[in-house]
Symmetry: C2
Subunit: 259 residues, 2 copies
DNA sequence: AAGTCTATATCGAAG
DNA sequence: CTTCGATGTAGACTT
């Protein structure tokens, strides 16, 4: 068992038992600010994923402004310019920077300062470290794409494959059909040939979805010849009480379907 | 310079130069799955912030479902139950679990498996590791709250402090005044005593904001006696072309104000 | 607990 | 480039 000293740089090559692992991560514990600066610069240069844990203050200036007092946080810097500042709680980072920016690091007042700048909108994020507990640079290449099911897109695919899920005899004619009020999820006809507008929601819907469907139908009625009959169907797992009464008022229909 | 062997557990106490630092972080490089499991369990038990870097697959099942094939990722587990799976790009984690869940870890097929379960909605996230490159457990207590300026709330405070920013003679009477269409940001009267509805947006607004303001005004006209005159003012840094014409059509006004 | 609204929303698609 | 809608939205606040 090795006991770390101060500062300690650890280079290591992974023991490979099943296929090639990624390049050597570089980890430094309790570095001096000077040493941390060198490691940060080098990691950014190499396009590594960089994590820093330590006590810091954070300033953000851009679409809004914020100041975060001194405390322990985990900072993640990605090669695409993303910056994340995480505290011990919450899913959302307490501060962040979206992809596309650039990182700069320097010693300010003899302490490590990491800055992220992003143009359009012009935004800066500055992390001032009081001390760095641990710094790690990882070589990471992850080509795999995620496959997601149960989304609205997935629901649409299922209805197109089996239109009877909406109503027996329903025939989809188009998806994303454009109207003045936006694109209709599924446009089609019922068994009698009456035009139908189907709006999909993957979860319980409120009044906003009813308004959206209503706007589509009004737009469609204007687009089609006057007096054209158009049915509107909201497809969702469930509906709020207020939305249900709005549907009734507007002569719209609801079909319950799990995503 | 120390060269890591396999596995290596590093316990260290930070050198304190300015006030007490947090407890000792625990970092393990290229652990066996068995060793990783012990460290994960111990870190969760202690309420530490845990980071894992390594090659893994990720399964999610809950509001939707997803599968993520094998690749290098950074996993962050927080003591509040938050789980984050980050790849080398993007601000959003590729998979995640909101706070409130519980972690379980075990060896499945002799490999480290970390699971997160969350009730209501019932959701599970499972990370299967092919190998762990590095594992770190941090003791973290961050009491500091973030102070944010330049938000819509901030804009409202400024207008209440100086109503002339909207219009000379404007008198705010209420904030968050309820209507059937929702709450009005600032409700008041102009120099002539005419009712005013002020809608605030901290950034460039599109047609949606005009629609929102229009709904508030219609609701208010219904609430007040018939024929009541109501002015609507949209306060934002700027407005899109389409929104500007909608404002003109609806007889609404626009005041440019930076957040 | 459920509904509503905001966000430094982020993200992707479409015009 | 803007505009628009979906998100496993998250998170805060009201009822």
């Amino acid at each position: 068992m090795a006991v770390g000293f101060y500062p300690t740089v650890v280079y290591f090559r992974a023991v490979t038992t099943e296929g090639e692992r990624s390049g050597e991560p570089r980890t430094v514990r309790t570095p001096t600010h000077h040493e941390a600066l060198a490691q940060v610069k080098s990691a950014i240069e190499r396009g590594n994923l960089l994590t820093l844990f330590g006590c810091c203050t954070v300033e953000y200036d851009g679409r809004a402004e914020s100041y975060l007092g001194s405390g322990d946080r985990l900072i993640v810097l990605k090669p695409d310019g993303t910056a994340l500042v995480h505290t011990e709680e919450g899913q959302k980072p307490v501060n962040w920077q979206p992809p596309g920016g650039t990182f700069e690091s320097e010693l300010a007042d003899e302490r490590l300062l990491v800055r992220s700048r992003r143009p359009d909108p012009d935004e800066t994020l500055a992390v001032h470290f009081e001390y760095v507990t641990q710094l790690s640079a990882f070589d990471v290449t992850d080509a795999k794409e995620i496959s997601l099911a149960g989304s609205e897109e997935d629901l649409r695919q299922r209805i197109l494959a089996d239109p009877d899920l909406v109503e027996k005899g329903f025939t989809p004619l188009a998806t994303e059909r454009q109207t003045a009020a936006g694109a209709i999820d599924i446009y089609g006809k019922d068994a009698d040939g009456t035009t139908m507008v189907v709006e999909l929601k993957r979860r319980r819907v409120g009044p906003d979805a009813v308004g959206q469907l209503r706007r589509y139908i009004n737009a469609l009625r204007r687009d089609l010849h006057a007096g054209a009959e158009v049915r509107g169907v909201l497809v969702a797992p469930s509906v709020t009480e207020r939305a249900r009464s709005m549907l009734a008022e507007s002569g719209l229909e609801f079909v319950s379907l799990e995503p």
